[in-house]
Amino acid sequence: MTQALSLLPPQLMTTPPLLTMTGVSRRYGDVVALQDVSALVYPGEVLGIVGESGSGKSTLLRMMNLEDTPDTGDYRLALPDLGGNLFGLDRFARRMLCATRIGIVYQNPHQGLLMQHTSSGNVAERLLIAGERSFANLRARGRTALEASEFPLDRMDARPIELSGGMQQRVQLAKAIALEPALLLLDEPTTGLDVSVQALVLDTLKRLQRDRAISMVIVSHDLGVIRTMADRVMVMRRGRVVEQGLSDQIFQDPQHEYTQQLVHAKL
């Protein structure tokens, strides 16, 4: 079987990648969660990570958010005043980095939101951690973030616990983008939502991505979501990356046996 041609390193893209992860491995006892995984995300692009349960995709995303450290591996973000392997950061630096320079949207809104506080408060908390001390600014910047997430402003002081699933995801999104991070991580952001709501949320994400040139990493088992959102796709299986490439190429001309199975299995 002849291999597809191996690709060269970038020649035209002169901007270095925003996110570089190399050789990340993680075991939990006997279970191999990640095995020698590497990933690159360039500024302004959307990387989709697709895989079934147990593929390690969510674990990888958690690593990107510094919620977990691997057994081995290197993680760098090309951001001002930041250098070295981020897995080696101390607790305080890690917290500040996560809170102020990376945004994350979880599948379960309960994980990402303070359900009993107001929606605007959830966004304000992020700003407060970053040092915003003007009440007027907290309101204004909160409104901006909620508006960009296409959340109805007349409900900005409603508590997430009172809102629908789609609205809760929008609050998470507003919270994630409030500090205008360069990197946004999304873990199954629309899974569990009604189909019509899914479409709307994805649409908001696409618009946001175009307007703010924010880099995104989207993890999903739903190929439709990945196809809609991603520029490049990484296919994971049992902790390993089995294939990666341009989004349309992965879906139209999958090379690896597993990817072919995955793509053809779509109803």
Partner: protein
Amino acid sequence: MSIAQLTKAWQPMSYGFLDASAKRELRRKMLKAIAVPGCQMPYASREVPMARGWGTGGLQVTLTLLKPSSVVKVIDQGADDSVNAASIRSFLSKVSGAAETWDTLDASLIQSRHRIPEERLHAGQILVLQVPNPEPLRPVEPNMSIARQMHADADYGRLWLILYEQIVRSGRIMEGAAYPSLVNGRHVMTPSPIPRWDVPKLHMAQHLTFLSAGREKRLYAVPPFTKVEPLVFSDVPFKVEDHGALTCHRSGVNGFYMNEIPQGDGGSAFELSDSHLGIKAIRQAEGEADQIGATWYQNGHLA
């Protein structure tokens, strides 16, 4: 060697009631508290002849600091003559031989429940405040271990969030007493339930302040010349109670924190909370040579 040479005569109790090892532990924790202003230090809170919730924390700190040359003043809501204040004061002098006083200017140690005297304290004086609940993060995080971690991480976002939501809901910050304050730019403390009027007195003060909670077994300190900044938004300023224009109906003094006394006709009369200040004012008016010291507030405003 005789027994008499090797031992001391029996005494009914140690000097200052607490035994030497208790005081030693307290002293170490108090020094630690000074070293990290505003940070709560846990200590082994001892039994004293008073029930928990009545000032045992403050009492243990005062007992540790007592010397024969100490002059102690004890107030409860500003009054030296309240039953509890009087009991504590007499106990203190009984176990140490220290002198008692009602005059802020003469005291070297001042133990207080919920008020700071109006006359400025100076470098030779130590203020000990009784604290019911030392944890400012309790409304945010009831779990003590997590709260400790939050202090260590300077993770006060959720505390700020509560203040933000108070303004959203009511248009202003609702904290009346025990206004959470940032000490030395690092730790947030609750300054015990003193009124907002008193919080600015802790900021860059000449004196040392201890805050101690006996039931909760934590103590913390504000060393002299340390920043104490109430948590405020830059555009929603910190406001003290509106007492600047009130007059004490007994002493005629105005411009200080007042107790409100409801009258039979439905109205209110006001009385100086710092009762000995009122007494001195009355004595002065009657021609006695009583000295009133410099005060933090002048003409109803912070000087």
